[in-house]
């Protein structure tokens, strides 16, 4: 059932390949640490790890231009990090500190960053889709040449919001990249128990929208496809892209994983995006074990620094609780 691990030559120069690898390793190490400090009670609320899916963010987020918008879900640590939000600000956010990218107001599910045009962090499944359509509409009306990439899970596709958003974007030919991270499950619900049509690309046809399916465990395939898709969206209008991926961890920190077998998880782990990519690079002579370890060490150091930063962060004074409910300067 599960496809063979990604393999074959990587068509990138050494630097580029290392950067891509480093991206994935940074997400992985950051999230492993999040899980650890969550266990210690330093992070609370819901925490949804992206571990296993790193090739998608690495390949796709890097395909965007700085002026593009990114809308994501509650499983967005990786997207935020690669979009350029400093790991310090992400970690501080999860710690609920003012130095966090949402001033500690949002937590894990609501990472925001105006400077990199990261418009959430949305905890309503499907909630980001109409938002992305509107962002793209604004871009089109302003002739800004800006693409809006909207990430969502395959579970979101059953929501009415998906349908309405796909139709609006296609009808109005808006520059939205609909990026589905199909990890096979919505919490404990497998795709075949949530969709009557499990060929997700077939759905795009019902909006006359072009679609493509990509191996989301292969950062090379993801990046090439996403780059082509972004160019097409920028020129011609919306596109749907399905990344086949898998989450290695539980849905959130409260999940007994009753709905899938250990064997299935292990099979997918064999396709893990980091080790398969590094193996390919090594086989091609583009990476040495030393280099890999250096990348990993750098990531670990960045994570340690982020934790130290977050620990040292300030708590917003309680007196400022009502700040930012309204924009300063609004009518009294």
């Amino acid at each position: 059932m599960i496809a063979p691990p990604p393999s074959g030559p990587v068509p990138w120069p050494r630097d580029r390949a290392h950067a891509m690898l480093a991206d994935m390793v940074r997400i992985r190490r950051m999230e492993e640490k999040c899980a650890e400090v969550y266990g210690a009670g330093r992070i609370r609320g819901f925490l949804h790890l992206y571990i296993g899916e790193e090739a998608v963010a690495a390949g796709a987020v890097r395909a965007l231009a700085p002026e593009d918008n990114l809308v994501a879900t509650y499983r967005e640590h990786g997207h935020a990090l690669l979009r350029g939000v400093p790991m310090n600000a992400i970690m501080a956010e999860m710690y609920g500190k003012v130095e966090g990218c949402s001033r500690g107001r949002g937590g894990s599910m609501h990472l925001f960053d105006a400077s990199t045009r990261l418009i959430g962090g949305n905890a309503i499944v499907g909630g980001g889709l109409p938002l992305a359509v509107g962002l793209a509409l604004a871009a089109r009306m302003q002739e800004a040449g800006r693409v809006t990439a909207c990430f969502f899970g395959e579970g979101a596709m059953a929501e009415g919001a998906f349908h309405e958003s796909m139709n609006l974007a296609a009808l109005w030919k808006l520059p939205v990249l609909f990026a589905c991270e199909n990890n096979g499950y919505a919490m404990g619900t497998a795709l075949e128990r949530s969709e009557s049509q499990t060929d997700l690309c077939a759905k795009a046809a019902s909006y006359s929208m072009p679609a493509m399916r990509v191996d989301g465990m292969d950062v090379v395939a993801v990046h090439e496809a996403a780059t082509a898709a972004v160019a097409r969206v920028r020129a011609d209008g919306p596109m749907f892209i399905e990344f086949r991926t898998y989450r290695f961890r539980a849905h959130s920190m409260f999940d007994a994983e009753l709905y899938r077998s250990k064997a299935e998880v292990e099979e997918w782990k064999a396709r893990g995006p980091i080790h398969t990519f590094s193996a390919r690079l090594k086989a091609q002579g583009l990476l040495t074990e030393e280099e890999f370890l250096a990348i990993d060490r750098a990531a670990l150091a960045e994570v340690d620094a982020a934790v130290a930063f977050a620990e040292a962060g300030r708590l917003e004074p309680v007196a400022d609780l009502a700040r930012d409910v309204h924009t300063p300067g609004a009518a009294a």
């Binding site: 925001f112 109409p130 938002l131 509107g134 009306m141 919001a161 609006l168 930012d324 409910v325």
Partner: protein, 324 residues
């Protein structure tokens, strides 16, 4: 100042906004070719074209959410949800996106969105088309809720709403569209309630479609020797408590008129505020005149019986004044 209908006043306000700011556009079901369900936007498509007077498919959740996104993206969208009844489908985007966005992003993303919708009953449109749910929206932090009840407010509130950097919802009562009155062309304030009539004996506090009925009741009361003051809330969130309480402190009696169902009505909130803040100023228990707690029926006599009427307002005011 010029005389026009409430409908024309809204249309003038839209036209002015579209002319004044290229970031402004109007979007909603049948706002363009059809001319608007209540004919508010008639003619605007011809003047501004289909990009800026944008017909949407039937997808309230989608296009209201798109309005939120467009606002964040730098535009100044005016989204028309045909009626409050259909806004239930868009509730998630209004509450979970528009209202929360600024706060949960730590102040990074404001949402300068204006949502207009028709509200209220009285046209025999039956249960699914007769809701008055302003109170629900008035409960949500992060949004401002307006209820123009006069031609001048219909004309003036939109510009002020567009100048607000945060989401604003404007409720237009379906019974008001044909109302005639004077309209200026300066923006009006969207912070204060208004005294529509001064009086010494009892404060009648209301908003939107109930204002004409309340003014009529005040006339009837005057004939009966009761001098009623009429407060038009105008702004349903944030409430202008100062004006409300000042009136009650003068008259010592309050009747709140609201087309919503009584339990959980906005009128209940007003009564609660009065009890909390002005208890010792009261010479009588505050009263509410609201809709009966039934789905609004189609048949005219039943619909009339379900909604606040002049006679009920008069009776409540008399009761508050110890006359019955």
């Amino acid at each position: 100042m010029s005389r026009m209908s409430y409908r024309e006043a809204m249309r003038e306000a839209l036209r002015e906004a579209l002319r004044a700011d290229p970031r402004v556009f109007l979007m909603g079901e049948d706002v363009g070719r059809y001319g608007g369900t209540y004919a508010v936007s008639k003619g605007l498509l011809d003047e501004f074209g289909p990009e800026r007077v944008r017909d949407t498919p039937l997808s309230e959740l989608g296009f209201v959410g798109a309005g939120v996104g467009a606002a964040i993206g730098g535009m100044r969208p005016i989204v028309e949800v045909m009626t409050v009844n259909f806004s239930l489908l868009a509730m998630d985007q209004i509450v979970n996106s528009a209202a929360l966005m600024r706060h949960m992003s730590g102040g990074q993303f404001s949402v300068p969105l204006v949502v207009r919708m028709a509200t209220g009953a009285g046209r025999q449109l039956a249960a699914q088309h007769s809701h008055s749910l302003e109170n629900w929206y008035a409960h949500v932090p992060g949004i401002r809720v307006l209820a123009p009840a006069t031609v001048a407010d219909a004309r003036g509130m939109l510009a002020a709403a567009l100048a607000d950097p945060d989401p604003v919802i404007i409720f237009e009562h379906v019974q008001l569209y044909n109302l005639e009155g004077e309209a200026g062309d300066a923006p009006v304030d969207i912070a204060r309630a208004a005294l529509r009539r001064s009086g010494a004996d009892v404060s009648l506090i209301t908003h939107g479609g109930s204002l004409p009925k309340t003014l009529e009741a005040a006339d009837a009361l005057a004939a009966d020797g009761i001098d009623a003051e009429v407060v038009d809330l105008r702004v349903l969130r944030p409430l202008d408590l100062e004006t409300i309480l000042a009136s009650v402190r003068r008259t010592h009696r309050a009747v709140v008129i609201d087309e919503g169902w009584k339990t959980g009505s906005l009128a209940g909130e007003i009564v609660a505020r009065i009890a909390e803040e002005a208890l010792y100023d009261l010479d009588a228990a505050p009263l509410r005149v609201c809709s009966e707690e039934v789905p609004i029926p189609y048949a005219k006599h039943l619909e009339d019986a379900a909604l606040p009427q002049v006679a009920a307002i008069v009776a409540a005011a008399r009761r508050a004044c110890g006359r019955s």
